[in-house]
């Protein structure tokens, strides 16, 4: 089970340590530093490192390494999931998961860690239970506490802790009862030189914000539930109902949570909302090249594509770029060789274009690699898979809640490869 946890910042300082069993010396982190040094790039530090007596399993989030020490055979995914949960909790409590936030709230962090894990076994990881045990810091509360002398640690047993629905506490009360669902879809795609799709899939989630009094029992149904064949559910969802009726039936946790995540991968269901015309070439034996990229909207069902940003990792030999953008602005960082073009909204009447000259280091050979273009965009009020919520019903409570559904489509890892065809 999880033995100890070290939090390490990018410059290699251990700024927090927590031990759930006996104390493990900080020196165990030396193995981690060694691996970190070898990996050069922070993202490339291997997540599982073995040392003579321990195993180090780490994640990298928000510029912090969460390094856990284990000594016996433990499922690594269990550890990694738990570490992410710890980071999520910090985020939830302090608004950000950063070294400053953690240092500012070190006692709460310590109390949280103690509450989340007991002897290496997870104890309470649901945010609503934790919040009953340890109140999140707010400016108001710390003022009140300092006046009244009361503490920010709950002294009664959280109600959800042992019921069959550990994710919900009893006695929730709101004056305005609301239930909001955000259907968020991200497109991961690889488009080849000729514009055909090499690979495309949609990663979708439904994030919910439920502020309902009492013990509401909700049913959410879709117009086209058949789309969802690869789904991960929040534990609150009754799996049997879904299997038989394709309806999401659940007693929701209180507040914000992720109801489901799903994946749509069959190619004909994944529409690609933008196209890119590109011409990037480097002349043989000359220290320059040409760059010409146009972005246009494709099947987007009448919705506007906005928030478009293109980033390109240019070849190492590129010295600088002289470009003109018909829309938006571009920057080129000569150190990292990253070109960023902030396009904004695409209007079909006048397609945004970026074109000009690429200057290469003189004498350098013609670059071998062809850069790939990474595109980000957003489309409001559209789930690109076509997923649509049909209706939401509530049982178990008498009041009438306010309901809302929002759709949004974003680019995930969306890249256009300029170098090859399939």
């Amino acid at each position: 089970m999880i033995h100890s946890l070290f939090l390490i910042n990018c410059s290699g300082d251990i700024f927090l340590e927590k031990h759930w069993k006996s104390v493990v010396s900080q020196s165990v982190c030396d193995y981690f530093f060694e691996a970190q040094e070898k990996a050069i790039d922070v993202e490339n530090v291997p997540p599982v490192i073995s040392t003579p007596h321990h195993y180090l399993i780490s994640i990298y989030r928000d510029k912090i390494f969460f390094v856990s020490v284990i000594q016996t055979e433990v499922p690594p995914l269990f550890v990694i999931e738990f570490l992410h949960r710890v980071a999520d909790t910090f985020q939830d409590y302090f608004g950000e998961c950063s070294e400053t936030a953690i240092k500012d709230n070190v006692v709460i962090v310590y109390e949280l860690l103690e509450e989340m894990l007991d002897n290496g076994f997870p104890l309470a990881t649901e945010s609503n239970i934790l919040k009953e045990l340890i109140k999140p810091p707010t400016i108001l509360r710390s003022v009140v506490n300092s006046i009244t002398g009361s503490s920010n640690v709950g002294d009664t047993l959280p109600t959800g802790q042992l019921s069959n629905i550990p994710w919900r506490r009893a006695g929730v009360k709101y004056t305005n009862n609301e239930a909001y669902f955000d259907v968020i879809e991200e497109i991961d795609a690889i488009i080849d030189k000729s514009g055909s799709t090499v690979f495309a899939e949609i990663q979708g989630v439904i994030d919910s914000c439920i502020k309902l009094s009492g013990m509401p029992d909700l049913s959410l149904s879709f117009m086209n539930p058949r789309l969802l064949d690869d789904v991960s559910f929040h534990p609150c969802i009754r799996f049997k109902r879904w299997e038989s009726e394709r309806v999401l039936s659940f007693i929701p946790p209180d507040g914000n949570f992720r109801l489901i995540s799903y994946r749509v991968s069959s190619q004909n269901l994944v529409a690609i909302p933008v196209y890119v015309k590109h011409m990037i070439s480097f002349k043989e034996n000359s220290s320059s090249g040409r760059f010409d990229v146009t972005i246009g909207p494709k099947q987007n069902m009448g919705k506007t594509v906005e928030g478009v940003v293109m980033t390109v990792h240019m070849p190492k030999a590129v010295l600088n770029m002289n470009l003109t953008a018909t829309q938006g602005s571009y920057t080129f960082d000569p150190v990292t060789k990253v070109l960023t073009w902030d396009v904004g909204k695409i209007t079909p009447q006048k397609l945004p274009n970026l074109k000009g000259i690429v200057n290469l280091q003189s004498g350098a050979p013609k670059p071998e690699e062809n850069p790939s273009l990474n595109i980000q965009f957003k489309i409001q009020q559209l789930a690109i898979s076509g997923l649509k919520v049909n209706r939401l019903d509530m049982y178990g409570e008498k009041y009438k809640p306010f309901k809302g559904v929002k759709y949004i489509t974003k680019a995930g890892k969306f890249q256009v490869i300029t170098g090859r065809e399939y």
Binding site: L16, E17, K18, H19, W20, S22, Q26, D41, E43, N44, P47, V48, S50, I59, Q71, T72, E73, V74, P75, P76, L77, F78, I80, F82, K103, V106, V107, I108, Y110, E111, D118, N119, F121, L123, I139, S142, G149, S151, V153, D155, L157, Q161, L162, P166, V198, Q203, D230, S232, F233, P235, F239, R258, S261, E368, E369, S372, Q415, I417, G419, R420
Partner: protein
């Protein structure tokens, strides 16, 4: 108002100040002070000096303050055990508190204080809490048992906590069940055989019910526990699978992977014709793919597991190739894993796409990744024959890029392609040769040299090319030197006229100027081969090579099956069974062939060369075998014979045969034995004649083995003294007519731990014989005379003398064929005579060969099944007890006896002088004179001889 203010006081009197604040009357000030203390603790500052002051704050009704003090206590109690006692009363009182939160907190904290004196007081409160009316307290107490067990296992057992814990598996609350399972799993990990979690259909049913209702973490524990269950038939397996399948849709990836493990394991039991089997296969793919859209760390673990799953059941993911395509911003560790899986999934149907991807990867920036991509192209060529041509042309394109490491990597894989498809792609050799100068890595140089040597007849300037390498011969790495030596010899055999000078040059470089024993030995072998029989040399050196297999890096099936049972665990990440690396997995003794030490005799013949004289001190270097494997030329087994030293001094360089001849002719069949050994045991080969103290000992094996043996020595004190094993009647080893009138007959015996060779020397000649001496050739178990052959008086004609020659097993070791072959040279005043004999293996069975039961079980399981050999012992109508006692006399020890359906099963162990353990299972059926003997041993080649020993002992 943030906590960072706690860090700001860095003045000298910090501790002093804190002390004052802790003893303040104001509650608020106290709490602030404790917070400061905790803050210092989190960054590793030592605030243990404040122990009494902090403990004083413990008795409070403020829960936050109490929790903070507990946090402090857990950290420092160990270093201040006497002070910690002060806290006990409060703990015990808190365990009675009406608030369940406080009861649970107290028992939880007490369990974390690893001080013996405190744990004594813990027992009573813990017992109460395990039966508490509140499930929150019960579930906390369940974990506390595991904590206590970690501190004092005996105490937990004595107090009967384990039984209480087992009862909690039937608790009404799923969270309590999950924690009880987790605690029991942790405890049983340190007691592999204790069978704490004895699962039966009823308890399985309870677990499956709890599975649906408990937290995600609890689900992981329950699923891992389910995976250890063995369903009684396929119907039970199917019904469990059906109830586990919904877990595949869980948001927690660890739950998903644990569910995959259960399904993969139980699927084994389902018939493939079953509809359900197909459904299950289909259901497994989507969750595995979904894992790949998670955070990179999760992806990595998932990919390592998918790698196993793909090898076991390729059909699950065969249509999902695209999800394994590398994304440019994947971390490198994800990229490398994806590449591996792409190769595994490559087939004729998708090879075009895969190749296009790989070619693209080969132009990326990260060197490691690019190398692996190039290598992957080669593996595609070898795996999918139809694509070979395209792969080769892709590789040639890559070579044209002239990117140094790409070219080198490409050449290494092209060598393999040549091996796989002989006489097909040799047209590209010209292109390869153009890049000769740019190769600076040993592996690429060696590969290129191999190609030049292998295809010397097609390369016009092969001699020039090789000669160019020869210039810097001494600066090359061993790998390249060996390859160069072989290549030039090949060249010479193909074009003898032009290259005589070259071959002489390389042979002298290898034999006279090199410090490397492998190189020297290989040089000598070639030299002798070429000078004695060029035709034979051609046959050996240019022999047809075996084809290389399709997929080289598949995990061997038994290991794979074992790893499938460990999906989701560290073992699956490392692709090694847990016994191989997890510390504290007690009871599993991982053993391998013990090193054959004691080859103290140095190789006289080559060392006689003056230039290489002092080189004997050099440690033996063992070359990487990988590339050379299968190459028959890898005969670096040391000088062929470094026979009995009696004649050795006369051996000269170049005239090696003086003594060799005599023994060589005698050992006609031995060279085959040598050859079969090629590549098999580098330790032996490389060490040929050098004191190479066990370079093959895997690190870490020594310790557990050692302690195990220690126990054994204690056990066997009384047994060894009685031991006198069976002695065969003497037989004639050397007939008089072959030895100028000296007849030798003899036998081997073992008594009280010492081996002796009982000889009768008979003089059938007409003259008196004297000056006897005896010498053994190197043999499989290092048998050697422990004393000189003592024949006190000259042996008159027609006189016999009986001599018992004590033997030891510290002589030089060389694997013989048959294994128990012993070659002996006997000298007298007339001549030197040679004979060979076979010794019965039971003289090597040592007195401390009784294995501990636990270890026996673990070892039996640990030895792969293919090492098991089964034999029939015919015509032996002894009872089990008689068999047992008879075998015991020859140091075969019965560890356990079991009666299964009327048959007696004897479990036995024995140990050879060189430390090899042999485990046996002997089945005796009452009315049947044929016994069945199953032997398991890490060195399976001894099994046949052990069986013979059994046979001899039981029949006499």
């Amino acid at each position: 108002m943030t906590d960072s203010k706690y860090f700001t006081t860095t003045k000298k009197g910090e501790i002093f100040e804190l002390k004052a604040e802790l003893n303040s009357d104001k509650k608020e000030k106290k709490k602030e002070a404790v917070k400061k203390v905790i803050a210092s603790m989190t960054v590793g500052k030592d605030v243990s000096a404040l122990f009494p002051d902090v403990v004083n704050c413990m008795q409070t009704d403020n829960l936050e303050l109490k929790k903070l003090v507990y946090l402090y206590l857990m950290n420092y109690a160990k270093s201040q055990p006497d002070m910690a006692i002060m806290a006990v009363n409060t703990f015990v009182k808190d365990c009675e508190d009406p608030n369940p939160l406080i009861r649970a907190l107290a028992v939880r904290t007490m369990g974390c204080i690893r001080v013996d004196k405190i744990t004594e007081y813990l027992c009573e409160p813990l017992r109460k809490c395990l039966k508490d009316e509140d499930p929150y307290v019960r579930k906390t107490a369940a974990v506390c048992v595991a904590k206590l067990h970690d501190i004092n296992a005996q105490l937990v057992e004595d107090q009967g906590f384990l039984d209480t814990l087992k009862d909690l598996i039937s608790d009404s609350n799923p969270m309590v069940v999950a924690n009880a399972v987790a605690a029991l799993s942790e405890i049983s990990e340190s007691h592999p055989s204790s069978n704490l979690l004895d699962l039966n259909p009823q308890s399985i049913n309870k677990l499956l019910t709890a599975l649906n209702e408990c937290t995600e973490w609890g689900q992981i524990f329950i699923l891992d526990c389910l995976a250890n269950y063995m369903p009684k038939d396929d119907r039970e397996a199917q019904s469990i699978c059906e109830r586990v399948t919904p877990r595949l849709s869980h948001a927690n990836s660890a739950v998903v992977l644990s569910a995959v493990k259960v399904l993969m394991k139980f699927m084994e039991m389902l018939s493939k014709d079953l509809d359900y089997y197909g459904t299950l296969l289909k259901k497994l793919a989507p969750p595995l793919v979904t894992l790949l859209s998670a955070e990179p760390e999760l992806q990595y673990v998932a990919l390592r597991n998918i790698n196993l799953i793909v090898q076991k059941r390729p059909e699950i993911l065969k249509h999902e190739m695209k999800v394994f395509f590398v994304k440019y911003n994947d971390p490198i560790y994800v990229k490398l894993e994806k590449l591996d899986i792409m190769i595994r999934l490559a087939s004729q149907a998708n090879i075009a796409q895969v190749l296009a991807e790989l070619k693209e990867y080969a132009t990326e920036v990260d060197v490691d990744f690019v190398r692996k991509a190039v290598r992957a192209i080669g593996r595609c060529a070898i795996k999918v024959e139809q694509s070979a041509e395209r792969c080769v042309s892709t590789l040639l394109d890559l070579i044209q890029t002239k990117v140094n490491y790409v070219v080198q990597e490409a050449i290494v894989v092209i060598k393999d392609i040549f091996r796989k498809y002989p006489n097909k792609y040799e047209s590209v050799i010209a292109t390869l040769c153009e890049n000769l100068d740019s190769l600076d890595e040993p592996e690429a140089r060696a590969a290129m040299i191999w190609i030049v040597g292998e295809y010397a007849e097609r390369i016009d300037n092969a001699d020039e090319l090789l000669e160019s390498f020869l210039e810097g011969f001494h600066d090359e790495s061993t790998q390249v030197q060996l390859q160069l030596l072989t290549a030039i010899v090949k060249l010479f055999l193909k074009k003898p006229t032009e290259t005589q000078e070259l071959v002489q040059q390389v042979l002298s470089l290898a034999t006279q100027d090199s410090d490397n024993p492998d190189l020297r030995d290989r040089g000598y072998i070639y030299w002798r081969l070429l000078s004695t029989d060029p035709v034979a040399a051609k046959e050996v050196v240019l022999a047809e090579k075996p084809l290389i297999s399709e997929e080289t890096d598949l995990i061997e099936p038994t290991l794979l099956d074992e790893l499938i049972c460990y999906i989701g665990t560290l073992a699956s990440v490392y692709h090694k069974p847990p016994s191989a690396f997890v510390e504290g997995s007690r009871g599993v003794v991982h053993k391998s062939l013990p090193p054959r030490t004691g080859s103290s005799e140095s190789a006289e013949s080559p060392e006689a060369a003056p230039s290489a004289g002092q080189a004997a001190e050099q440690p033996a270097v063992i070359p990487a075998q990988g590339d050379l494997l299968g190459d028959l030329l890898n005969l670096d087994l040391g000088p062929p014979v470094s026979g009995p030293p009696l004649a050795a001094s006369s051996v000269q360089m170049g005239a090696v045969d003086l003594l060799g001849g005599g023994l060589d002719s005698l050992m006609g069949d031995e060279s085959e034995g040598l050859r079969s050994d090629v590549g098999g045991s580098p330790a032996m080969g490389g060490g040929g004649g050098f004191a190479a103290p066990g370079p093959a000992v895997p690190a870490g094996v020594g310790a557990p083995l050692g302690s195990g043996l220690g126990d054994l020595f204690d056990l066997t004190g009384g047994v060894g003294t009685l031991s006198g094993s069976y002695v065969a009647p003497k037989s004639v080893w050397l007939p008089a007519m072959k030895a100028k009138g000296l007849e030798i007959s003899g036998t081997f015996s073992r008594q009280v731990g010492s081996i002796s060779m009982d000889l009768v020397l008979t003089n059938k000649a007409l003259q008196v014989m004297s000056d006897f001496a005896i010498q053994f050739n190197r043999n499989s178990f290092g048998l050697a005379p422990a004393a000189p052959l003592q024949v006190h008086a000259p042996l008159a004609p027609n006189q016999s003398v009986e001599i018992s020659l004590p033997l030891n097993t510290v002589g030089s070791v060389m694997k013989m064929d048959p294994l128990n072959n012993l070659q002996v040279a006997v000298k007298n005043n007339i001549d030197v005579f040679y004979f060979s004999t076979l010794y019965p293996l039971h003289i090597l069975f040592v007195e401390d060969g009784k294995m501990e039961r636990q270890m026996f079980l673990a070892t039996w399981k640990d030895i792969p099944n293919e090492n098991e050999a089964q034999f029939q012992l015919k015509d032996c109508s002894l009872s089990a007890d008689a068999v047992s006692s008879k075998l015991q006399g020859s140091n075969i020890f019965t560890i356990a006896k079991r009666n299964v359906e009327g048959q007696d099963m004897l479990y036995q162990s024995l140990k050879l002088t060189n430390g090899i353990w042999v485990l046996a299972e002997l089945r005796i059926q009452p009315s049947n004179p044929t016994l069945t003997l199953s032997l398991k041993c890490r060195a399976p080649e001894v099994s046949q001889h052990v069986f013979q020993a059994y046979d001899t002992i039981l029949k006499n």
